[in-house]
Assembly symmetry: C2
Homo-oligomer: 151 residues x 2
DNA sequence: GCCTTAATTGATAATGGTTATCATTTTCAA
DNA sequence: TTGAAAATGATAACCATTATCAATTAAGGC
């Protein structure tokens, strides 16, 4: 019997869909933001006061490795996570990060062209390096408008 | 009087080209690897035993903000740095990162198409969001060949 | 050159996100 | 039901990075 895609993904990779994992997954599915491990832990506590921070970290790491979630680093010292196929998110998007204030802007311009190119590249790289690619990330780094004015 | 590009970049941004900065820059220019702050510090110590780790961090941050260097996070807990225009490096390249062992593969396939697309995107985003873009990053995340076999 | 002021530096301590450890609990299959 | 393996959670430890602050250095005006 096949379940929802994330369950299949877990099972196929040889892992169990446990309560804590389901909980974290549920939170990821409900938001359209980039949540940190701490963010997720706090939200998880509200639904299950016995969950541990370590488990949240472990779960996020697992999700990332099997392609359920994506891990981001925006340079502010803590990692952020997003569900890979988030129904609430604009289908596919990327990020612009301010090197000063670490603010993040999502954008989704030129996605069609970009997706094509990425798909092509991904295919070639997978083959060439025998690499199982889970996801890709594109970041533009620079200085945002308000930080420039502050000079 | 204009000096080399990095000096101009510093001056134009209102900063001085000091000894520690010149030292860090020299090390970045001599390598084709992704060095961590610690790596750079150790190398710097050999040439100037009085340099401080804090200064290395500060210098790298400064270089990143004014576009002399690029900062990378490959998920192993420490940031890496590369010179923006490194004569030793393959002109333009990107990275594939293993989510398990954190190994990094540089690649430079499809660079022509990619550069075109990025340039176009960059232009549009800069204008739309009044964002001064210093550099972009493309990462493919997945599981490398040897980590897959280890399953 | 000398002086003034601001920029820069470096030693140290503190911060804080993440991971290691390990005993306990849960899950799945026999 | 039962036993082995997987998963969990509390705690301690780790370690990259940043804050602090007194000391040093650089640049421009005189």
């Amino acid at each position: 019997m096949r379940g929802p895609w994330w369950q299949d993904r877990l099972n196929d990779a040889g892992f169990r869909l446990t309560n804590p994992r389901e909980l974290v997954l549920g939170i990821l599915r409900e938001t359209d933001k980039h949540l940190s491990a701490e963010d997720l832990y706090v939200k998880a506590l509200q639904k299950n006061p016995s969950i541990g921070l370590t488990t949240v970290y472990r779960t996020l790491d697992l999700f990332t490795q099997i392609g359920i979630a994506q891990k981001f680093d925006f340079g502010d010292g803590k990692a952020r996570y997003e569900l890979a196929n988030n129904p609430l998110k604009k289908a596919h998007h990327h990020h612009m990060v301010c090197l000063k204030c670490k603010s993040i802007i999502d954008y989704s311009d030129f996605m069609k062209e970009e997706l094509e190119l990425m798909k092509k590249t991904e295919k070639a790289l997978s083959k060439k390096h025998k690499f199982k690619i889970m996801y890709h990330i594109i970041h533009f780094y620079g200085i945002c408008n308000s930080c420039r004015e502050g000079d």
